[in-house]
Symmetry: C2
Subunit: 310 residues, 2 copies
Amino acid sequence: MIDKLVAKIQKTNAPIVVGLDPMLAYVPDHIKEAAYREHGETLKGAAEAIWEFNRRIVDAVADLIPAVKPQIAMYEQFGIEGLIAFQKTVSYCKSKDLVVIGDVKRGDIGSTSAAYAAGHLGHVEVGGNVYAPFDEDFITVNPYLGTDGIKPFTDICKKENKGLFILVKTSNPSSGEFQDRLVDGRPLYELVADMVNQWGADLTGSCGYSAVGAVVGATYPEIGKVLRKVMPKSYILVPGYGAQGGKGADLAHYFNEDGLGAIVNSSRGIIAAYKQEAYASFGAEHFEEASRQAVLDMIADIDGALKAAK
Amino acid sequence: MIDKLVAKIQKTNAPIVVGLDPMLAYVPDHIKEAAYREHGETLKGAAEAIWEFNRRIVDAVADLIPAVKPQIAMYEQFGIEGLIAFQKTVSYCKSKDLVVIGDVKRGDIGSTSAAYAAGHLGHVEVGGNVYAPFDEDFITVNPYLGTDGIKPFTDICKKENKGLFILVKTSNPSSGEFQDRLVDGRPLYELVADMVNQWGADLTGSCGYSAVGAVVGATYPEIGKVLRKVMPKSYILVPGYGAQGGKGADLAHYFNEDGLGAIVNSSRGIIAAYKQEAYASFGAEHFEEASRQAVLDMIADIDGALKAAK
């Protein structure tokens, strides 16, 4: 799957991922009203509104991008109906040949991680039948429990040709509270990065990158520069661009000299573009066109930053 | 909610929680066959089997115990249908007046943690209506992202009278890989424990304990002894008893001198008791009675250990 991701990044010339994190507040009124007319102001109504919102954005941007990253919390907050919208979103994006990164940040003791791995990346057996319940291509995983909490995920990646992004240095303001603490003179995030190398060592694709990648926030570019060198074979998923404060110029350090090695996420900045001054002229009625323009602008911003850094 | 948990522990004289982590392999054939007859060997069939398995165990043990801890991964692996079984299990246990600890180990950046907190502990608004999608009483939370990833959960706990158990030292073999690393001469788990105190400081119930508790594995009793003192006002949720190797005699250190302060989880040891030699005479047909006997034996084991330690 890492080979597919890299091939799609090269084909689109767009090392970006659109975060499908649909807060109800981002969904234009005409979409919400249509959903509520059919299903009432219910959890199903909310779920249908975010699903329709997603579908229109995906239709508007799918030809420009390699991948999407639905954040499951935004669906899970609406309970079962929300999770049905998550599943429909994953499935629809795959039908559009997009690589789907499930931002689920799961992680537990071995036997429990095995269940998450089966449900999100693999298969479960029921009697004589086999099912792939959520079937994302990649998921994000929390490393706090160590190797035996990660191994069930890497085992499934090997078997099913899937991939992971392990949280190494997250984009939020207080990520340093534990992640930056020095252990034997090195920050904890570097120790986690060492383990990412180890966990992914026998999962290298023909593209030269491992199926085990890392999450490193755009909001910490100096740390990104270090971690790029610590994990030369890991793709870095970079959240925090745009709304969280990360800028294109900060991003060059997350890439390798081959121009590959990083994929930058933007969520609000794309899906709620029509709410920004720069795209307000599209109007809420044409929110998907605002999202398309925001994608084009993001690609140009990152392309410019990469060219300037050469 | 911490007051309710403590009151129920005192009333039952049982500082234990039954982990409702139903692997299909634990479910007796007669339960599976009945579910498959009605729904086929499908995800719905699997989900109905684990729901019926849960229901019978809960009916058999509810009068003996204060709380249950469904592990969401075991349901999530069966996709939407599995999550419906999770929701039914939560709701059924609450109707039996059991305290429900959702073992979900969520945790993300602030805005995303807020969505998880709303979905699992709080409410979401859809138009003019308000829903409580999963509505557990407590959930487990991963601390790797630091304070701004925790605050949305503590905010909801305050507002909705709910509680948390933060992962401090997990029960699995490789938990020490990151959690035990020394920072300024102290293991990382102690730094997390310091933050648990801080996060829970203004959430103390009338019982004297905070609504922000901690997870500390039964498999590390010497660490449990230290962490008990570091977090005097936190309830400690202790996984790893029984199948994972923790013994009753190891558990005394997790309790305070008031006889309170810890709640010990057993999952497999209770719900799959009929598969153990000690309870094999019950037979698969009477699995729920085997579970009841295993609960009685666990209560006696812990009670004996607490008395011996006095």
